[in-house]
């Protein structure tokens, strides 16, 4: 399979605001435009990758991602994941995935009560087999932007131990002499992204679609997305 054969679906909720950005980013890499799927749809056409984009779905009412996580389309996304389909949740998309239980943990209010909007340095962790990390060098650093108010990753200590033991932590915030202090939000054990037990679902707070070219200030997002897409077609 070639990259241009890759079928990507992007779920759109009221309040999603990175849906178009990730669509353009994926199209830039694959030359194929992803499908935008409205949250009221009850079914999903066959897809190789489903992306839950960033934004403020349903105005973050009740809890971030809570209402989106129970939208009609999410049953189809859960079925897709249960069949081993690949899913990527970015920022609010990560929050949605935790609300559905597709990835473990919860994202709570940033420890310093401030919206965090800046570049962060990430360390790629050694993980279980996953298309989202298999083509990345372990311990490689990526610089990606974050923009969130609830990115403080929380899970019980026992569960955190298990995630570390099983290799389900994809990215950690790491220090940088240029960018400064590593952990921007108080996330437990500096966790910036986690992977499901079968390796096919990733949730991450940083925005790869906002680092697609030097004009964005960096292209590590393009690198990460390209490596993920290549792993999905190989």
């Amino acid at each position: 399979m070639t990259l241009s054969a890759l079928r990507v679906a992007i779920i759109v909720f009221p309040g999603s605001n990175c849906d178009r950005d990730i669509m353009v980013a994926i199209e830039q890499l694959t030359s194929r435009r992803p499908a935008l799927v409205w949250h009221k749809e009850a079914s999903l056409e066959a897809a190789d990758l489903v992306i839950i984009p960033g934004g403020f779905s349903f105005g973050d009412y009740l809890r971030c991602g809570a209402l989106a996580g129970r939208s009609p389309i999410m049953n189809a996304v859960l079925d897709h994941a249960a069949r081993g389909g690949a899913v990527m949740g970015i920022c609010n998309g990560f929050q949605v995935l935790t609300e559905t239980g597709m990835v473990p943990g919860v994202l709570i209010r940033n420890a310093e009560l401030k919206f965090a909007c800046r570049n962060v340095r990430l360390q790629v962790c050694k993980t279980l087999a996953s298309p989202f990390t298999s083509k990345l060098a372990i311990n490689k650093n990526l610089t990606l932007p974050i923009a969130h108010n609830e990115g403080n990753y929380f899970a019980e200590p026992g569960e955190l131990d298990q995630l570390e033991g099983e290799g389900q932590i994809a990215f950690r915030y790491t220090d940088s002499s240029i960018i400064g202090k590593a952990n921007p939000n108080g996330a437990a054990r500096d966790i910036a992204g986690v992977i499901s037990r079968n390796g096919r679902v990733i949730g991450m707070m940083p925005h790869p679609e906002r680092a697609m070219s030097d004009l964005h200030g960096g292209s590590d997002g393009a690198y990460f997305l390209l490596k993920s897409l290549e792993a999905l077609v190989s």
């Binding site: 809570a66 310093e112 929380f154 019980e156």
Partner: protein
């Protein structure tokens, strides 16, 4: 009937909002305040006359949507329960 759902963060879950409020209260002279936890209250009007059944349904609502039981505990008060 009316049901009231009270949702609070579990012990051990950081509540930065509560901490900020606690600091403010201390600054305002309420030095006796040692901890603040912020929760939420949800009032539900429900077409149901049987308190037991109502309670059961509301518990389902909490488990399905209203609370995230990874970080939150909930309690239910049935307002008209005698």
């Amino acid at each position: 009937m009316q049901a009231i759902v009270n949702i609070v963060l579990k012990d051990g879950v950081l509540d930065p909002q509560g901490r900020a409020i606690s600091h403010s209260l201390n600054d305002l002279g309420f030095s006796e305040v040692s901890d603040v936890r912020v929760g939420k209250q949800i009032l539900l009007e429900i077409d149901e006359n049987d308190p037991a059944r109502l309670r059961q349904r509301v518990a389902r609502m909490c488990e399905t949507l209203l609370a995230n039981t990874v970080i939150e505990n909930y309690s239910i008060v049935v307002a008209d329960e005698k």
